[in-house]
Symmetry: C2
């Protein structure tokens, strides 16, 4: 029997370095899958359908809601975002670990469902540094940066919903910490797996 | 304010490679402290007082029990074994991580006290391998080996008391897994520490 994959749920305020982190994790963990969300918002210039998101119509999205097809979904401003339940389950059933990048609202939904996974929140080293990174992008107005900072503050104040908090000061150290978390979690007592039947029998004799 | 050290509680059935593991961890983690237990049993040929154990008289031990000086203690056959509460606390208060090697009975006591720490159980790859290692030592009779195996089986069947189970197949991999566990645990949401007052304030604003 294949052991089920581990769902790793990540959130990071805008400007914390989520995109770089994702790229580095893809390099370090070639076998890990990244969940692709569905959305009704139009793709940005560099975004690809099926890679960044599945870009679908509002009608198709509402239809998926009706069919209970989403593990979690949310309406943010005028657009819908959601994580497909069947796609996610299929990957995990294959024994593959899966990274889900969600916002805090998505995590609140999963926690309410008692969805089993490892929840990791990425923090900036300081709010000043976050502002610097957001301004440095040069893609947003001062007003937009301020708005993102306020949202970031709200998200950080909800980081108690997660299992781990990781400060992204140095990206390589952050990656190492995440690799350590994954390695540790695979040895958690409730996830422990052994191929040795004798030892499995001893472990399974434990009172539940 | 110094952040308190992390207590790491280890158990490993006899023959699992605990001694080698301890030596490797001392090399990898020069700053970590190893708890030294008190015992009334006589030292073995290669054991040093204050290093392997504090070897004390039965009278002194019973006196320490009366003074509630032990975090946990147990009588095994004719001898007493215990972990000093003040020594342990002093190390942790200094911000140093501390490795406590305990038997399953000791862990049961600490769990009953809801003692906060990271509990790690080391497993052999198989019972056959454990027998091979115990026999290979050449220090014990066949009867003694059998007895140790039975005790080992009992211990493994209680490994659900721990947070992590680590199979010691390859000592270097085991050490890496333990280092990963320590790194991960330091990022656990309830242990998270940041020097940034702004972020600390946001985190502390969270509903408890």
């Amino acid at each position: 029997m294949t052991q089920k994959g581990l769902p790793l749920i990540f959130s990071a305020p805008s400007g914390t370095g989520k995109t770089t982190l994702r790229e580095k994790l893809k390099q370090e963990l070639p076998d890990i899958e990244f969940s692709v969300s569905h959305t009704t918002r139009p793709p940005r210039a560099n975004e690809k359908d099926g890679v960044d998101y599945y870009f679908i119509s509002k009608e198709a999205f509402l239809n998926m809601i009706d069919c209970d097809e989403f593990l979690e979904w949310a309406q943010i401003h005028d657009h819908y975002y959601g994580t497909s339940r069947t796609t996610t389950e299929k990957i995990l059933e294959m024994g593959k670990d899966l990274i889900l990048e969600l916002d805090v609202q998505g995590v609140e939904s999963l926690r309410a469902l008692k969805y089993q996974g490892v929840y990791i929140f990425i923090l900036p080293p300081s709010m000043q540094e976050l502002e610097k990174r957001l301004t440095g992008r040069g893609t947003e107005s001062g007003e937009q940066v301020k708005k993102r900072l306020r949202v970031g503050e709200q998200e950080i104040s909800k980081s108690h919903l997660y299992d781990y908090r990781v400060t992204n000061t140095n990206i390589d150290e952050t990656v190492d910490t995440i690799l350590a978390i994954i390695r540790a979690e695979k040895n958690r007592v409730d996830r422990y797996h052994t191929d040795c039947p004798e030892i499995r029998k001893l472990i399974e004799s434990e009172p539940s």
